[in-house]
């Protein structure tokens, strides 16, 4: 469903991504790993249109994304979370989810005086998402008053409220303890089972190895390996990128 061909990104003289080829199929879970600064978040920013692509093409469900703006891309069905959590700070937990539904319903000027029949459906859906992420009882709290792990889950709930075909998770388990991470893995499985393709960046190898069908490895902006968790664990290039080359 997502196809990146020959994608490069340059910041001035620095090449953050070079000739990246990537193909994601429907209903699978993909992982993107690599050392810090390898260009993983940059890749997400290119897909979601937050940064312009320097070269190459990104196609989603047959549509070229590189000329679209980020709100148009998200309307095609790509949602994401952020490495440094970016909830809407002045809104409550529930409002953070409701606002993400706006493009799927009437949210223009008529939303001031018309209460659509559909509104109940959307409320119920928001309730379902928040319950799924275990946050329903906190719906009235300010989003920024939540604990770290809860904020990460709320970001996922908010992204899911867009009903995406493709969900990009940028380090969803960062800062979570083991129990929370286990929970998260279950949630991600559920999301995948409901028909959403998941593409995640993660440093926690338990998460990546435990959940991803295919893993891609970035190092210094280049894709150095791609394969099943077993392939990746055995790949010498990957081990070298992470641990350095043995000398002598």
């Amino acid at each position: 469903m997502l196809e990146m061909a020959n994608v490069s990104k340059k910041f001035g003289g620095l090449t953050a991504l070079e000739n990246v080829h990537l193909r994601l199929e429907k209903n699978r879970t993909y992982g993107l790993i690599g050392p810090n600064g390898a260009g993983k978040t940059t890749l997400f920013n290119l897909v979601t249109g937050l940064l312009p692509v320097s070269e190459g093409s990104i196609r989603f469900l047959g549509q070229e994304l590189t000329s679209l703006r980020s709100h148009q891309i998200s309307r095609l069905g790509i949602a994401r979370t952020f490495q440094n959590i970016r909830l809407f700070p002045t809104m409550t937990v529930l409002e953070n989810v409701l606002v993400a539904q706006n493009i799927r319903t009437h949210s223009g000027i008529t939303s001031l005086w018309l209460l659509r029949d559909g509104e109940r459906k959307f409320r119920e859906e928001a309730e379902f998402l928040l319950k799924q992420m275990g946050l329903w009882h906190k719906r009235k709290e300010k989003s920024t008053s939540l604990a770290y792990g809860e904020q990460r889950r709320l970001e996922i709930a908010r992204a899911l409220a867009l009903k995406p075909n493709l969900l990009l998770l940028d380090e969803p388990a960062a800062g979570m303890n083991e129990a929370e991470t286990e929970e998260l893995l279950d949630r991600i499985q559920e999301i995948r089972n409901m028909g959403t393709t998941v593409f995640l960046i993660e440093h926690d190898m338990n998460v990546v190895m435990g959940i991803c069908d295919t893993i891609s490895v970035l190092n210094f902006g280049k894709l150095i390996a791609q394969g099943t968790p077993d392939d990746i664990q055995a790949n010498e290039g990957v081990i070298e990128a992470y641990l350095g080359k043995e000398e002598g």
């Binding site: 709100h71 998200s74 949602a79 002045t90 606002v99 949210s107 001031l112 005086w113 867009l162």
Partner: protein, 287 residues
């Protein structure tokens, strides 16, 4: 009611509208110091229509406001490229530009001003205040209101939620210009006489201050700020020459003591819950 009190109340109502016009633009995190420009356009256009063309007042006010809002669109689109202090400077320049335009524009009297508009009653002024207060109240509870909040909180994230940040920002500018245009029309027809210096930079600063001191999180802040800081200079008249110094001291103290403004969103939320508890005791379990 004495003429004096009526005059204070009328200007207070106009100040509420002006504060709301600044608030409208602020909902998308854009600060405009040029709303007196929109006000002047609304004032001159509507005054010309009623005095020279014999229009009834309310249609003239609407046409004046629409003219201001179209100019607002023209300003709002290029202004999107500017952020923070640069936008402030650009809008300030716009306000001054409009003011000097009317100073030199002979068909509306040029430097000698424009005489003759009349008919703004307290009822008319507060009818408009009511309309816009209800409008902002509905907006604050609507999906559109949430979209604006999202743009203000984090425009980049808002765009990944599918929200067209450009449209929302331009719409906010359009709305702010429209409200300022209405306020200008009402002002002209309250004063009977307008000149370009009425729409000066000091007024532009004052109406921004109303919003900052009243609270930027909710439109109630703009309303409260305009009310309090319209009455305060009058209430301080007994201080004679020291009045404005004291007024300035109040402003500085307010900023230090309560930087988030008089009214915060949390206050409104608590107040609504309290009202809810009073008026419906049965269904409070799940609100």
């Amino acid at each position: 009611m004495s003429v004096y009190i009526e005059g204070v109340l009328a200007l207070m109502g106009i100040n509420i509208l002006l504060a709301l016009s600044v608030y409208a633009i602020l909902t998308t995190d854009q600060l405009s110091l040029g709303n007196t420009g929109f006000m002047a356009i609304g004032a001159y256009v509507s005054a010309y229509l009623t005095v020279k063309s014999g229009f009834p007042l309310v249609p003239a006010l609407i046409i004046g406001a629409l003219t201001a809002s179209v100019i607002g669109l023209l300003i709002g689109i290029p202004a999107l490229r500017l952020k923070g202090i640069y936008l402030v400077m650009a809008t300030l320049g716009f306000g001054e530009m409009v003011r000097t335009f009317f100073m030199n524009f002979e068909p509306t009297g040029g430097a000698s001003g424009f005489r003759g508009p009349m008919g703004s009653s307290l009822i008319l002024i507060y009818a408009f205040v009511l309309v816009f207060v209800v409008f902002f109240w509905l907006l604050s509870r609507s999906r559109l209101g949430r979209s604006l909040d999202a743009v203000r909180d984090d425009p980049e994230v808002a765009s990944t939620m599918g929200l067209n940040v450009t449209h929302l920002k331009v719409w906010a500018f359009w709305l702010g210009a429209f409200i300022a245009g209405v306020a200008g029309g009402l002002y002209a027809h309250h004063m009977f006489y307008i000149e370009s210096s009425n729409f000066n930079f000091l007024l532009a600063t004052m109406i921004v201050l109303y919003v900052i001191l009243g609270g930027m999180e909710t439109f109630w802040g703009a309303v409260a700020g305009a009310v309090i800081f319209s009455i305060l200079p009058e209430a301080l008249r007994f201080m004679k020459d020291w009045r404005l110094s004291f007024y300035g001291a109040v402003l500085v103290t307010m900023m230090i003591v309560r930087p988030s403004g008089i009214i915060t969103r949390e206050m409104v939320r608590n107040f609504e819950e309290w009202l809810g508890r009073i008026f419906r005791t049965e269904e409070t379990k799940d609100a």
